[in-house]
Symmetry: C3
Subunit: 226 residues, 3 copies
């Protein structure tokens, strides 16, 4: 079974690590938005489990993993408690948090691709759902918190592309029957390193050509309005 | 059957009552947002049926109850018509509307917990989905209306906690095999009374500790920016 | 089979045409919001496939058509590339784009009604899901782009009503066993023409009665605040 690449305990530990770091980012946004402790918990759960939840609904894996595994459910609550008491300290180590988030991105895009394929989806769609697993929680977090999704903004470092590379690698490995622990870790690591490089060198994606011609619609405040 | 606690007609009447009061709150928000009559109907339907819809998708009960029961579908339209013609009068009895909304909260958190458990979910997840049933419609209403979800805001009276207490009580009653009409009504009534008390005494949930240290990020406008 | 009204290739071509024009509207909004090329692709996919995705999740048709048909997936990417390079030209032909969007609205409301009914839903709910198929993608587009959904705003020309008429006609045709290629095209054309007329004559839906009495809540900025 493709989903049994790792011993269950290793796979589960990696999942929980990814869930934890995503939950931290959700709880931190809730603090910045001045939400209360329940808002923190809701955003932590949504960020950590939202991507996998959307994937599971689409592939018909109900009830979703988020609603059958207590560890998945409790981990975001632990992250909420930590941020509740220590958020200035957590903010101070933003770089470390971002690095962990990049690791979560890498793990989730590969795991999501493998799970979607094991439920019978074609490779293109499996890779798309791998990407969805990795970035969906962050989009749900931003929509719930009433923010423009970071994923869509041009003034944010590349986030989708590293996940796309990782999930595409995983899909190709499945296609060539070469997916194993080593190669899937290489896929996740590639996404992880690309995301670190994107943050280090502020890689951005291009916007539509001839932005000038559209500038008359939102003059001066062009970027500020977003 | 746990879902057959009440005679079907009693259960159905309670459901319709909860749907009606939630729909009123959706239609009233649409009026405040200056939406047209179709926007009112969409928000009324989403507020009234959104929580149960999310629950049913997650537990795999498709098509969801919202799409198989005409009464569930028509009740929000009746609420829309009433608010359309009488919204100043409805606004004037806000306290009564809020009390009915609290009753809907109590009924939905218990009914949602029982339905989720009857579909095979564990008690923790059944209680979580009971909470989701009760508050999900309001979150969907606020997201569609382009508002910060009331559920997340610290400057709103406690809403999630009463529903959490009610759904936890229902889950414990299931666990101890003590769920019947009386005990489930007591669970719903507990959530109802807690919500009324939260509104009466302006109970708030705490925000993260040391808010001061984060204040430099959004000075002065701290609360206004939310 | 009701879903086999047309030869598969004709049905598929009509679907792809509707998907294409909806994707154009999503990509154009992304340009106006100053999103990058990946944001354009996400909004194009969400606008084009979101309505059908919601319908398929509700009727339990998983994995949804959007995740099994490569043409459905690639068409929005083609629209993204076109808008990326040619968006000033595309903006200049806004009227043509709007006419195509109206055509997509007509096709989707009928196709959605037929598909929902063929999965066992009652006629009222099939028509509701036809409407959802037609307008759901646009709502998802606006929520993701952090805008007030056009569907709800009173200062936008009628959009839901033409789709409601089209899906109701389709449901009535099914009821009277009179649905065939000709009558379903007449339903779609009716929705299409109504939408064109709504844009031509700026048809609006009414807001709640006695707006004046509510004006004290949002004075002066009443419409601007929406």
């Amino acid at each position: 079974m493709l989903t049994d690449l790792f011993t269950p305990s290793v796979q589960h530990s990696l999942d929980l690590a990814g869930i934890f770091v995503f939950a931290i980012s959700g709880a931190l946004l809730a603090v910045r938005k001045n939400f209360d402790v329940f808002g923190m918990a809701v955003l932590a759960e949504a960020t950590a489990l939202g991507g996998g939840l959307i994937r599971d609904l689409i592939i018909g894996a109900v009830p979703p993993a988020a609603f059958t595994d207590l560890g998945y459910f409790i981990t975001p609550l632990v992250a909420t408690v930590i941020v509740f008491f220590l958020h200035p300290e957590v903010e101070r180590i933003t770089k470390a948090v971002n690095a962990f988030d990049a690791a979560g991105l890498g793990l989730f895009c590969v795991a999501g691709t493998v799970k979607a394929h094991s439920h019978g989806l074609g490779l293109t769609f499996a890779a798309t759902l791998g990407l969805t697993t990795a970035v969906g929680g962050g989009v749900l977090r931003d929509v719930l918190a009433h923010e423009v999704p970071n994923l869509l903004r041009w003034d944010r470092d590349l986030y989708a592309v590293p996940a796309m590379v990782g999930s595409t690698m995983a899909a190709l490995l499945i296609h060539y029957d070469a997916l194993n622990v080593t190669t899937s870790m290489i896929s996740a690591a590639t996404a992880f390193v690309l995301r670190l490089l994107a943050m280090r060198y502020n890689w951005r994606a291009p916007r539509a050509w001839h932005r000038r011609s559209a500038a008359t619609e939102d003059p001066a405040t062009g970027s500020g309005a977003v």
